[in-house]
């Protein structure tokens, strides 16, 4: 087990190293001139060259990459020889000249919004998806099963933007059950927080609930046909033990993998839901950074969200080893 953990953690660091190379070269060596993007229409070649120097874009690519990576650990100062140097504290993911702000600061402002959005939706869809999926499997072929599967199909076919707009129109505008969404931290104003988040949670959870209902149902049905479930029955165990301890324990394990990765993707930002409900999360920030061609910000967000997925992958694999002895002991 210890060897397995060490191996997986080393793999993770290797992956992150490769990620940093890809992100850096993708965004900094693409055709198009990042220095040109730093000033507007009234730009002279002199200003562009000055900015190129301030950003360190006149240095060789390898030097740029080393500075980019070392900034994450020790911070960085842009244009140190100018009268107004720009200091970027560690962990520095770059500096957005469009917004005159450190990329890290922008991300840490947006991250909590996305975090709460993702966690809330996750709890909702995992609870609803798994319990309805099990319920359907236990009633396989009868009307509760068909009902759950129909609901799942409807949930599948509702696009997030459509469901979101529908909810805004009815719940907020027409019936006025909730105020217009305005994000606050749950620690500052829990009531307003809940009022703001409930609809985005529902929108985000709907699609995933539909998916997890189906996944859970099929997983559980599959294990019901497995030989060890028959053995459990042949031992004379009560049906409840057969279902919970033998069938569900094995059937729900693969769902851990799916759930972990889905949560990770969501933690990287929910673009549509954040935009519909004007939540200032990572998804909205990512969209804006692309619209503004804010290269340092795009690179920073990409690096962070990809890292979240890599870490989540590790966590899922370690969790799996805890659950399944075949992974843990060779």
């Amino acid at each position: 087990m210890a060897g397995y953990i060490v191996r997986r953690v080393l793999q993770m660091f290797l992956l992150m190293f490769l990620l940093s190379i890809v992100v850096f070269f993708l965004f900094n060596l693409l055709p198009g001139d990042p220095a040109r993007l730093t000033c507007g229409k009234a730009c002279t070649p002199e200003i562009i060259e000055a900015n190129r120097h301030r950003l360190g874009l006149d240095e060789p690519p390898l030097t740029q990459y080393v500075k980019f990576v070392s900034a994450i650990f020790v911070g960085r100062t842009f244009s140190p020889d100018s009268p107004a140097p720009i200091i970027c504290d560690a962990p520095c993911l770059g500096y957005s000249f469009n917004r005159h702000e450190q990329v890290m600061t922008l991300i840490t402002q947006a991250a909590p919004v996305t975090f709460w959005l993702a966690i809330g939706a996750f709890i909702l869809w995992i609870t609803a998806g798994i319990s309805l999926g099990i319920f359907a499997a236990l009633n396989h072929g009868r009307w509760p099963d068909r009902l759950v599967m129909t609901i799942s199909l409807i949930g599948y076919s509702l696009p997030a933007f459509f469901l979101g707009l529908l909810l805004i129109f009815f719940v907020i505008i027409k019936w006025q059950m909730l105020p217009f969404p305005a994000y606050v931290s749950p620690f500052d104003n829990p009531v307003q927080f809940l009022q703001t988040m409930i609809l985005p949670w529902i929108v985000l959870a709907t699609l995933n609930t539909a998916f997890y209902m189906r996944l859970t149902r099929n997983q559980v049905l599959e294990t019901f046909g497995d030989d060890y479930v028959r053995t459990a029955r042949a031992k004379g165990l009560p049906e409840r033990t057969v279902v919970v301890k033998h069938a569900l324990r094995a059937g729900l394990t693969p769902i851990v993998t799916a759930a972990g990765l889905d949560l990770a993707v969501l933690l990287g930002g929910a673009i549509i839901s954040e935009n519909i409900f004007s939540l200032p999360g990572l998804g909205a920030l990512a969209v804006n950074s692309v619209t503004d061609s804010d290269l340092p910000l795009i690179a920073g967000i990409t690096l962070v969200t990809a890292s979240i997925i890599i870490v989540a992958n590790l966590v899922v694999d370690l969790l799996y080893a805890v659950i399944d002895p075949r992974v843990r002991v060779g």
Binding site: D226, D227, Y228, R230, T231, A232, R233, A234, K235, G236, L237, P238, E239, H246, R249, A250, I323, D324, P325, R326, V329
Partner: protein, 343 residues
């Protein structure tokens, strides 16, 4: 012989989208206490479903089960599901074909056996563990103390099947059903497992039903044999009689399609032509008629009528339209041809 297990007209059918599958169609048989009955047949012949019906493992919500199964003066099909649950794993136990998939991958083998024990009686954990270790030693698992804590994937195929046998025997069942217990194992291990089952049967006085398609095993272990084909028993006899004087052409086909050491050099195998019938569309007459070399000798009877399982000698039952003397002549000719002049 007094019957310990008696099955009367057992029928099991499943309703599927393609039609009704008659998996077992009127099976009746007797097994005396401490004896071994082998049920032989191709896959899909209904032998495994018969076994699962005895154990009450067939979901009555999706299958139609009728008939009677008497075990030691108790009718199993009439039992309530909690009563049947109490019988499973205690009075009747089962060993399955593939020990790797039959053991739960997430739990230690010892714990899986203790679970079987505690489903039927109160034992404290320490005592339960000791009992499992004892049973492991009895079924020939070396380093039993350590193996109790192993996960199934850490054991070899033979060890896993020994674990399954230990699990089946832990509550001293009076009836043990072994469903192709050696099919998934290496040939060298097969013989050990069969021998083990025989030894334990003697030691515990267990009645055994051995389901198999391996006639070599049948010759080794069984007192009596029931041959199943197309959801029915087509021939039933004491083992020696069945091997030496088979009457049903299907049994004859089975016997002449396995290579034997005592075959004449250059002697030919006689495989059964065709495929087993679809359980949804069983032929109208004799279900074996489409593959039977001798069907034309029944004056068309095999096309129209289902033959009955009738006694041809004491303890020997045959389901065949051919006249008894014709059957016996064919049988002795075929056996003489493939075995040389010995028989």
């Amino acid at each position: 012989m007094s019957a310990f297990l008696e099955i009367e007209d057992l029928k099991v059918s499943f309703t599927t989208e393609d039609g009704v599958v008659q998996a077992v169609d009127g099976v009746s048989l007797l097994v005396a206490q401490g004896r071994t009955l082998a049920i032989v047949g191709e896959s899909g012949s209904g032998k495994s479903v018969t076994a699962q019906a005895i154990l009450g493992l067939i979901d009555r919500k999706t299958a139609n089960v009728s008939g009677e199964i008497w075990l030691d003066n108790e009718e199993l099909l009439a039992l309530s599901s909690p009563d049947m649950q109490a019988m499973r794993g205690s009075a009747v136990a089962m060993i399955f074909q593939d020990p790797l998939s039959s053991l739960h991958p997430f739990y230690r083998v010892g714990d899986q056996i203790i679970e079987a024990m505690r489903a039927h009686r109160k034992v404290n954990p320490k005592e339960a563990r000791r009992e499992v270790v004892d049973m492991f030693k009895r079924v020939g698992i070396p380093a039993a103390e350590r193996r109790v804590d192993a996960y199934p994937h850490q054991l070899s195929g033979g060890m896993r099947q020994r674990v399954m046998i230990a699990m089946a025997l832990i509550n001293s069942p009076s009836l043990l059903i072994a469903d192709e217990p050696t099919t998934a194992l290496d040939v060298t291990v097969q013989a050990q497992i069969i021998e083990l089952i025989q030894d334990l049967q003697k030691e515990f006085g267990t009645t055994v039903i051995m389901i198999t398609h391996d006639l070599g095993i049948v010759a080794d272990v069984a007192d009596d044999v029931a041959v199943m084909y197309g959801a029915r028993i087509v021939e039933m006899a004491p083992t020696q009689v069945l091997f030496e004087e088979p009457e049903m052409p299907y049994t004859l086909g089975l016997l002449s399609s396995i290579p034997r050491m005592d075959m004449e050099a250059g002697g030919r195998l006689l495989p059964i032509p065709g495929n087993p019938p679809s359980p949804i569309h069983l032929p109208k007459g004799c279900v074996f008629a489409p593959r039977c070399r001798y069907a034309s000798m029944t004056n068309g009877l095999s096309e129209t009528d289902r033959p009955e399982l009738l006694p041809t000698a004491p303890n020997h039952f045959v389901r065949c339209h051919l006249a008894p003397d014709v059957r016996r002549r064919i049988s002795s000719e075929v056996l003489t041809a493939i075995r040389g002049a010995k028989v």
